[in-house]
């Protein structure tokens, strides 16, 4: 409980006596590159293969001849939008970006770089963590959108190449009974997960004490806690919004 309280104090300090947004602009752009652009490769690979595997496994499970083939792509589409693109990508994102944020801030803490900022009269929490959180909020929904598209495309190629579904059926299924809110739901999840991952990782890194060993522990804790928070938020959002 003490940790949770400290986390909320950390969040409140993000907005107290912060520097001007002009100061943050360049940092946000740099963070967008680190957080967003540098995550493209891993997100592309994971999303494409998840879509491909989901298609093949759904086809494998649909053994009843009464069920039309296009249901395969309906399942792939809805699973991708509702769960796979926002949540599975979030778990990957937590592993890559979360550990990076915690490692960077942890190293800055143990090498007294954070103290140097404080001595200069700069709100170090706001200066270091706010650009990372804003960049995550900007970039993660884009990554989720890309992941959803690539996952559906991965399913299309895997399904048609394995001859478990025809291209026409796949496209028909993707369009059938489409609920537009599912896209909004995926993006809401993306924003919530981005805030959780970046803030928890910043918090863990910022309060690192000790040496190199503790920086490693902070990175691990950042990923673990982010994953738990993602799964809890995933359940809560599903209960509240669906």
């Amino acid at each position: 409980m003490k940790g949770i309280g400290r986390y909320f104090i950390f969040i409140s300090l993000l907005f107290v006596k912060r520097e001007s947004f002009k100061t943050y602009f360049r940092q946000i752009v740099e963070e967008c590159i680190i957080i967003g652009v540098d995550s493209l490769v891993i997100v592309t690979i994971v999303a494409t293969f998840i879509g491909a595997v989901t298609t093949i496994q759904t086809a494998y499970n649909l053994v009843n001849p009464m069920i039309p083939d296009y249901i395969i792509s309906v399942v792939v589409r809805d699973m991708t939008l509702l769960e796979l693109a926002p949540t599975v990508t979030a778990l990957i994102f937590a592993g890559k970006v979360g550990s990076n944020i915690a490692g960077e801030l942890g190293t800055m803490r143990i090498t007294e770089q954070i103290d140097a900022l404080e001595v200069m009269g700069i709100n170090s929490i706001s200066f270091l963590a706010l650009p990372k959180i804003i960049a995550s909020i900007l970039m993660y929904p884009m990554l989720v959108t890309l992941a959803a598209f690539l996952s559906i495309m991965g399913g299309y190629f895997a399904g048609t190449m394995a001859h478990v579904i025809t291209p026409e059926d796949y496209i028909y299924g993707i369009r059938a009974d489409f609920i537009e809110f599912n896209v909004a739901f995926a993006l809401i999840k993306a924003v919530v997960f981005a805030i959780l991952i970046s803030s928890i990782s910043s918090y863990k890194g910022y309060y690192t004490t000790g040496g190199a060993l503790e920086v490693g522990k902070a990175s691990t804790a950042a990923v673990t806690n982010s994953c738990i928070a993602i799964l809890m938020a995933d359940y809560l959002l599903a209960e509240l919004l669906l």
């Binding site: 006596k17 007294e112 103290d115 140097a116 404080e118 001595v119 200069m120 009269g121």
Partner: protein, 252 residues
Amino acid sequence: MIEVKNITKSFDGKTVLHGIDGVFKPGITNLIIGTSGTGKSVLLKCMVGLIEPDEGEVTYDQRDFTHVDRNHRRDIRREIGMLFQGAALFDSKTVEENVKFPLDMLTKMPNDEKLDRVNLVLDRVGLENVNRKMPSELSGGMKKRVGIARAIVNQSKYLFCDEPNSGLDPETANLIDALIQEITIEYNITTIVVTHDMNSVMKIGENIMYMYNGQKLWEGNKNEILETEVPELHKFIYANQLVRALKAEGST
């Protein structure tokens, strides 16, 4: 001038600073010395606000630093420069960006003026053609020089140095000591150096505070320190063979 009054600090029930008092004047190098774990760095951190003291107060030119709100403290902090033990340069920034950082954050100076100021202070600390280098490309001594340049670039009125010689060879350590003293006199800064290096004490110790087990045991200057009767300080200074030799030479 910086004044500390009755500074007391405990961690987990263990008192590490017992009511420390002291006055640190501008234009001279003030040293806080003592063995490792005696509370020197904690005192320094209490003075710059990185650690909150349990009791007591710190004033900068009669301006309270301890019991003021964040805004007032921020105003004073912007007049403080600090050289950290490991220099604490920002890894992701070049030397030029590191030194320019306080100007970017704390002033509205045009960029050309900032660069002129950066080059001036880098030149002052004896560094040339390093503007584009990253901290990882610098030696320990060069990092300390960049740290000093960053600390004085904003024309700081107060300079804190936490063990500026740690990890440096004796020659470079002498250069850093000399640089700190020269800058202190040149810009009339109130400089406080935390050290346990007796070479520094004998070279630049114009006002020395000796701490032992979280208490101030002695105060004086480098000429007086060799004549001390305080047993703990006596043991501390004569642990160094060079000082022993100097003392022996002086007495013959």
